[in-house]
Symmetry: C2
Subunit: 244 residues, 2 copies
DNA sequence: CGCTCGTTTGATTGTGATCAACGCTAGTGG
DNA sequence: CCACTAGCGTTGATCACAATCAAACGAGCG
């Protein structure tokens, strides 16, 4: 019983075909499957949440806003990742969730998730690792929000999104697409859209990255990019990407 | 069998005296108990971690640093909270942990934690809520790091630390102590120590808070402070403090 | 075609970092 | 008891980075 429409590549690692936990997982996510197009908000701050999400395809942005409308993207979710929008008060979401591209996801009622996770420790383990990776990413981004320059923030964001969205790792020459406008990248890095534009242009001028039609990125000079981002490509991968 | 030296108030909520889960919890944290004084680093970035921590008394700062030595405090841990320093690669810590005051904590080997949590769903539930609260706090802080003014960041930090460190909630007139220098508060809010000083002075001038000997804080004008911090005191409590 | 949305560029402003110096307090040792 | 030191807080002067304002351009689209 394969999960309908779910590529194997994004299934939780370590779930051999035919295993009981894989069967349970597929049954769980086949339950409540939804599809949304870019921009069609799927949850707003303060709304009730009784589900955790598993993203099958597309991209989600998890964000919070200030009263003046300025928004900060807290995290981005790519296929194969879980998302738990609950806060300390598990019933209420403290964040807004918005698809950045047409997205397909499963909304798993919390009680069901707890039941399945209780019965299948491998799934719980996968979920926990996913969460730990998410916290690590947030930590890296917080460090740069607090102490990094605009260049460092954007270079890091590019590295992170490349690592997470592409099967190949963080390498030169491979094109990958980020379904975000410069405005959104600004919301992600804590910068204004104008400054994102200028910074990207500088990267392009210096032959560090190519940026073509609407955020298709090619890394040209990984060493320089990693130096600006203040990362070690391999170390970063180990830190923010759950091993298969 | 009470936990030796552990006040009831910080035990995971919902563990009635004499219950099996409480017994298991106490046995678990009585295993590996440690004590450190302020500044005595207890884990550095990149070091191996095979334990999760439960803080019994004191304060811990979880931080990351840039190559130039600038540090960002990612989170602060107060008594009764768990801390899991693992990253996506569970074996390696991506953060540095430093006691801000003399602290007593239990280091629980990961396998033991998994075993106990598996046997006692209430403990797992408590841990998960703790983690959700921690993520919520990080989100709030990220929002302000990215989009908030210096005043907003500091006002928020004061509100958060008041809520978390004091039994009484976020109220006017009650004194509470934060065992941090202005430098550390700067590392927490992404500001320089100098600017923390100026901002606090402005708050004092405007009779919003009192700050006396080494960070003993009294909120004088909660409405204004909440407005600057852009919070709703009750909403914030629900979002970042796990209910008992 | 005109419209909207996103990007690009320039000019100006402002917030907070940095550098530097000084005061205060507590702790240390003569 | 009095230097002497070290750490923290305070204040001033200057500077730089990124926000903001404003305008124009290009592409996709009804």
């Amino acid at each position: 019983m394969p999960c309908t429409g779910v590529p194997d590549a994004i299934l939780p690692g370590g779930l051999p075909a035919g295993s009981a936990s894989r069967k349970a997982f597929c049954q769980m996510i086949d339950g409540q499957r939804f599809e949304r197009s870019a921009g069609a908000m799927l949850k707003v701050e303060g709304e009730a949440t009784r589900a955790v999400y598993f993203l099958i395809s597309g991209w989600l942005a998890v964000s919070k806003s200030m009263q003046d409308g300025h928004r900060q993207i807290i995290d981005i979710v790519v296929p194969g990742e879980f998302l738990d929008p609950g806060s300390a008060d598990v019933e209420t979401s403290a964040v807004e969730i918005e698809p950045l591209a047409r997205s397909i996801y499963a909304a798993i009622p919390r009680e069901e998730w707890l039941r399945v996770a209780g019965a299948h420790p491998e799934l719980r383990w996968y979920f926990d690792r996913n969460l730990a990776a998410s916290v690590s990413r947030m930590s890296e981004r917080m460090l740069r929000l607090g102490k990094g320059s605009a260049e460092s923030r954007i270079a890091y964001a590019l590295c992170e999104l490349c690592l997470r969205s592409s099967g190949f790792g963080l390498v030169e020459g491979q094109a990958f697409h980020i379904p975000m406008t410069q405005q959104l990248l600004g919301d992600y890095t804590g910068l204004s859209a104008v400054h994102v534009c200028r910074t990207l242009r500088r990267f392009r001028r210096n032959a560090i990255v190519d940026v073509s039609d609407h955020m298709t990125i090619v890394i040209r000079d990984l060493d320089t990019l990693a130096e600006i981002a203040q990362i070690d490509p391999d170390g970063l991968r180990r830190e923010i990407i759950p091993a298969a």
